[in-house]
């Protein structure tokens, strides 16, 4: 790392101050650190009511009866609604498959499913009234895994499925199945000198964003509703909300409220429809805020997975084949399960050259908590398994694990198991080389202080469990591959509206998109792009709302690529108009107006040779130039349902990690000493934000390696630890130093050559930590997270 703390090797600066490539500061950064930022949970409206959701106490049951009488009679209560009170025939929603009831209809399918909603003049009144609703359940057996889901007499989680996956799944309790078949695995196996097999288990991780689900719905005089909401994609919410309310989309006006983190957990709806229903029913503004306990039930989680992998290799270390089966638990509702299956299968071989591949991925319907999008999205689970396999193979061949990976690493031009030839840089071997070359942290840093051990540097920290006894260091490596953007033929566009005018004697650009700023720094980047393209200093970023076209989702590492691309595109169109204006006004004064390549820089129109032709203030005068335009990346295509072949992904993103851990081998406590990362980012539009994304993604990967897991009782399918008391996320004392080495190899298909970066570090961080713990303990460790029990034989 450089002295500034920024990643190394980044190109700095641009010709207009504050443009792309600079680490301009986030407008929301200081407010968030000082606690002044207004999150969605901070909103308040005169005369507003508070909404409360009553959730099921059992995972799978028929609803015999619901008695709302006592709740309705509670003073201060304005409305109680159940399924029967829904205003239209559209009573389900869902990202892809509309299988999720707005309120439970005759049946609940998971612990914590919404059954009824209440509005009252105080949150406590609403909560107590909800508790007075009497729901009689007739419990059903729970479906919790593949065996119970596909048993001959298994209850169908969803009867009478009509979605477009039902035709190709082997059982109605399977949401989607995607095979990826290439070459001839049986034949390739004959060439293998060594074969390794592994059965891997990946636990259920929570996004654990700190700002709980919340929003405010305000009924409007025109019969519509204004919804202020923390979400990842305003227009996707809108498409699901409006039909349930029986309103046209233009009467549901949505504005993004302050988002306290997302990580995929806000792709699905939570309280949006409930707040709108109560607002329209009562004629009053309704606010809903989940508490932490409810939040664990209020959003989808990362799919837990069971993965069976078989790899072969020749004596000289070349991979021969891969046979894999990935079973993802989608829980009670589909959410993003089909797309997660697509990712897990198509990226299931990892960033390696393997000609002969047979992968099958499925997602189950069960009565476990619904699972959907989370940072890394299917690629995370696969990476955990294939990287464990790489270490096993290297060990069996007596090769260095990094050299073995480098030998088999894919590169630009490699055909993936989907048949897609990767047509932009894929520096997998180079990332591994770089991360291995980074200096190692000193051994036994706890001794450095002198006589007494510094327990803060030891496993257990201030809990004072070891002064060095039993502590063994381990080092592990991993690398991963993640797709960027929405895949499989999805029309993944974004929209930007850019306006340029003179305000206060200065040219000002205004950028308006519906992009959800969830902490990724998109608003900073949009301003940088506008400065670079339009040569202005002042840029106004309008609040994200549905008064402008869709920006697509803030997920899949796509927003800088796609909405950044849309902003650049709109800026280019605005620039053309401005130059036309300039030609009309001043073209006769200088021949360069007609002949030269013209740019906007530093508030002026200049030639590419640097000659100033006019001031933008004079060119614009009183006129404003405004353009709203959609922008698309190149199209992808669906995977063949039988073979998985197809140009399915628009871009790939790669990161490699080296983990250094110290394990108290007697107590099973782990201290991650360092997690070094090397990543190719194509082009760092904002180096400081790039660093933040890589460090954040790395830490989230560390969490699932050593502590984070939602524990679901296998007998009842009930969540056992829905709180930050028992669902642990890393504290600063668990977070190691994260040196970052960044490569900028341009992808010529992408704006500025950039590469989506937010997810790749979450992939390789987890298997690197696991590999390091294996190195320290000699244990096989086929499950994550690793708990002290697993390291001490006391599970």
């Amino acid at each position: 790392m450089g002295t500034t703390g920024l990643p190394t090797n980044i190109t700095q600066g641009s010709r207009t101050k504050g443009g792309i490539g600079e680490s301009t500061l986030r407008p929301d950064g200081t407010l968030k650190v000082t606690g002044e930022f207004a999150y969605s949970s901070d909103m308040w409206h005169e005369d507003m009511l508070w909404g409360q959701i009553l959730r099921s106490t059992v995972a799978h049951a028929e609803i015999v009866s619901i008695d709302t009488g006592e709740a309705l009679a509670t003073p201060g209560v304005y409305a109680v609604m159940t399924y029967d009170d829904l205003p239209t025939d559209v009573r389900n929603y869902g990202l892809e498959i509309q299988d999720t009831p707005v309120l439970a209809h005759g049946k609940v399918r998971h612990h914590g499913e919404p059954v009824a909603i209440v509005a009252a003049d105080h949150p406590e009144t609403a909560r107590r009234a909800a508790a007075k609703i009497k729901v009689e359940y007739r419990e059903l057996p729970v479906i919790t895994d593949e065996a119970s889901a596909t048993a001959p007499d298994a209850i169908l989680v969803h009867q009478n499925r009509t979605d477009h996956h039902i035709g190709h799944v082997p059982h109605p309790n399977i949401v989607h199945r995607q095979p990826i078949v290439r070459g001839d695995v049986a034949k390739a196996r004959e060439r293998a000198d060594v074969i390794v097999e592994g059965e891997y288990v990946f636990g259920m991780q929570d996004q654990a964003f700190l700002g709980p689900e919340s929003g405010l719905a305000v009924p409007a005089e025109d019969g519509g509703v204004d919804l202020y909401i923390a979400t990842q994609w305003l227009h996707s919410d809108l498409r699901q909300i409006a039909p349930v309310l029986g309103l046209p989309e233009d009467k549901v006006r949505m504005t993004l409220a302050g988002v306290g983190g997302a990580f995929g957990g806000r792709e699905d709806l939570s309280m949006q429809i409930h707040a709108c229903l109560l607002a329209l029913r009562t004629g009053k503004p309704v606010k809903i805020v989940y508490n932490r306990f409810e939040s664990f039930f209020g959003h989808v989680h990362r799919h837990p997975a069971k993965l069976h992998y078989e790899h072969g290799a020749t004596k000289d270390g070349r991979l021969t084949h891969l046979k894999a089966r990935i079973v993802l638990d989608g829980g009670a509702y589909a959410s993003a399960s089909p797309a997660v299956v697509g990712n897990a299968s198509s990226l299931g071989a990892g960033p390696y050259v393997i000609e002969d591949v047979d992968i099958e991925a499925i997602a189950l319907y069960t009565n476990n908590p619904p699972c959907g999008a989370m940072r890394g999205f299917g690629a995370v689970q696969a990476c955990f398994a294939y990287e464990a396999q790489m270490d096993k193979l290297a060990a069996k061949l007596g090769m260095d694990p990094v050299e073995f990976r480098r030998l088999n690493a894919m590169s630009q031009g490699t055909a993936l198991p989907t048949g897609q030839v990767v047509d932009s840089p894929a520096p997998v071997a180079e990332l591994l080389r770089r991360v291995k070359a980074m200096p190692m942290p000193p051994e036994q840093q706890w001794r450095a202080a002198g006589e007494a051990a510094d327990v803060r540097e030891l496993p257990g920290g201030l809990s004072n469990t070891t002064h060095g006894e039993g502590v063994v260091r381990g080092v592990g490596y991993a690398v991963g591959i993640k797709n960027v953007g929405f895949s499989e033929g999805f029309d993944d566009y974004s929209t930007a509206r850019v306006r340029m005018e003179v305000v206060g004697g200065e040219p000002v650009a205004t950028v308006h998109t519906a992009m959800a700023e969830v902490g990724q720094g998109g608003i900073t980047v949009h301003a940088q792009i506008a400065r670079t393209e339009l040569g202005v200093t002042r840029v106004t970023i309008n609040p994200a709302d549905t008064q402008v076209g869709s920006a697509g989702s803030t997920s899949a590492s796509r927003q800088t690529y796609v909405t950044g691309g849309a902003v650049r595109n709109a800026c280019e169109l605005v620039r053309e108009r401005v130059l036309e204006l300039g030609r009309r006004k001043f073209g006769t004064y200088h021949p360069a107006w007609a002949t030269a390549e013209l740019l906007l820089e530093g508030g002026k129109v200049v030639t590419d040779a640097g000659e100033v032709l006019a001031d933008l203030v004079d060119v614009l005068g009183d006129e404003a130039v405004e353009i709203e335009e959609q922008w698309r990346h190149r199209p992808t295509e669906p995977f063949d349902p039988r073979t998985g072949q197809g140009f399915g992904h628009v871009q790939y993103s790669f990161a490699a990690h080296r983990a250094v851990v110290e394990v108290d081998t007697e107590l099973g406590m782990v201290k991650v000493v360092e997690l070094a990362c090397a990543q190719d980012v194509g082009k760092a539009l904002n180096p400081l934000s790039v660093l933040g994304q890589i460090q954040g993604g790395t830490t989230q990967g560390l969490g699932i390696a050593v502590m984070e897991e939602i524990i679901v009782d296998p007998k009842t399918a009930k969540v056992r630890n829905p709180s930050f008391t028992d669902y642990l996320i890393p504290t600063i004392l668990d977070t190691p130093t994260i040196p970052v080495d960044v490569l900028e190899l341009a992808d010529d298909h992408a704006p500025y050559g950039l590469r989506g970066i937010g997810e790749a570090p979450t992939l390789s961080s987890t298997p690197a930590v696991l590999a390091a713990i294996r190195a320290a303990t000699g244990l096989e460790l086929n499950r994550t997270p690793v708990r002290p029990e697993h390291l001490t034989g006391t599970a």
Binding site: S41, D42, W44, P75, G76, D121, H122, P123, E124, T125, R127, R128, V289, N291, F293, P459, G460, G461, L462, S463, N464, T465, T466, H467, E469, G470, E666, L667, G668, M669, K671, V706, M707, I711, R720, N721, T725, D726, L728, P730, T731, I732, L733, D734, R787, P788, E789, T792, T794, A795
Partner: protein, 347 residues
């Protein structure tokens, strides 16, 4: 966020769940808490269902009188246990007895042999000011939650809640503390060994409050270890406290989160006391042999009666208590040997 307005005969306080104050309506919503300047006025106001009376005695005597009048009243000082339960609606006591105005609960006295530690002295203070006198408790205090919680919480709350996972208990057991409990009927000292009577139950009578804890100043090395599944801010999976008492030539232990209540490993103590005695270890300062340490550790594991839960397995807890017992014994004994050697040198 709390706003307080004067109302005839008392103060009304609204606990709002957001930074935005809610208008106060009449009649008040069920979360309304009545503040009484003088608790004798409570009888004049008819309580609404779900309401809590918030009793704010200005002195210890008033606190005892309030507790006598309302034995179901839940004392609250730092609030780090009670407020969590109230916020989650796990508990809705009829009366909250706020001890924050009773200043002497925040004080401590270091006597000739004993520290009298006020029930509300925050853990931060124990860490900063009482490390030489109460090294085991100071180490335990370090492991409590986060700095913010350590600035609020005190040992009285740990004892009042009597959760087996309370961080202070193993240190108090190892040090042989005595709990000063008082009611309008009088004051008594409850030996810590008799204090924990069941899961989240203690030996206090309904009208008693904890005023202080009496802990002998350390006469030898003390250690404390706690296992959690992250490196800070974590509830104990299990914990272990150990104190050497060279004056009485005894060793005392305390185990947390590995039985329905905090417990001592009595058989382990007896075994070790006998070994140290027979071998003349207290005098000759010899190294404790691995086999003795191992047997001590096994006996400590055997003193556990743990359960499987989301935080850890019973099997792991037994194992970890054994490891911590062995390690803390080695640390304290090495420290004792060092001290003994230095003392001999001086002599």
């Amino acid at each position: 966020m709390v706003s307080v307005t004067d109302r005839g005969g008392g103060e009304r306080c609204v606990l709002a769940s957001t930074p935005h104050e809610q208008p106060m309506n009449e009649p008040g919503p069920p979360h309304t808490i009545w503040l009484k300047r003088n608790h004798s006025e409570t009888t004049e106001t008819k309580k609404r269902a779900g309401q809590m009376d918030f009793l704010r005695p200005a002195s210890w005597e008033e606190a005892l009188a309030a507790k006598a009048e309302h034995p179901t009243a839940v004392p609250i000082a730092g609030g780090t246990d009670v407020m969590v339960e109230i916020n989650f609606d796990h508990r809705r006591p009829e009366y909250l007895l706020d001890l924050n105005r009773v200043g002497d609960l925040y004080e401590w006295e270091v006597g000739e042999e004993t520290v009298r530690l006020g029930a509300s002295v925050p853990y931060t203070r124990i860490m900063e000011h009482l490390r030489p006198e109460l090294p085991g408790l100071a180490l335990a205090s370090h492991t409590v939650a986060s700095p913010q919680i350590r600035n609020r919480g005190g040992v009285g709350g740990n004892l009042g809640t009597a959760s087996p996972a309370g961080d202070a208990h193993p240190a108090l057991l190892a040090a042989g503390a005595r709990v000063e409990a008082e009611s309008v009927r009088g004051s008594r000292l409850i030996p810590i060994d008799d204090f924990y009577t069941g899961v989240k139950r203690n030996a206090l009578a309904p009208d008693e409050l904890i005023r202080a804890v009496h802990i002998d100043k350390a006469d030898g090395p003390q250690q404390y270890s706690k296992v959690g599944t992250r490196n800070a801010m974590v509830i104990a999976v299990c914990a272990f406290g150990l104190a050497l008492h060279p004056t009485t030539r005894t060793v005392r232990t305390g185990i947390g989160s590995a039985a329905p209540t905090p417990v001592r490993a009595r058989a382990a103590e007896e075994f070790l006391n006998a070994e140290l005695d027979e071998g003349g270890f207290w005098d000759n300062g010899r190294i404790i042999t691995p086999s003795v340490a191992k047997q001590f550790a096994e006996l400590c594991s055997a003193a556990c009666n743990p359960i499987d839960d989301v935080r850890g397995t019973a099997s792991y807890r037994r194992h970890a208590v054994g490891v911590m017992a062995r390690r803390t014994l080695m640390w304290t004994w090495e420290s004792y040997r060092g001290t003994a050697a230095r003392t001999e040198g001086v002599a």
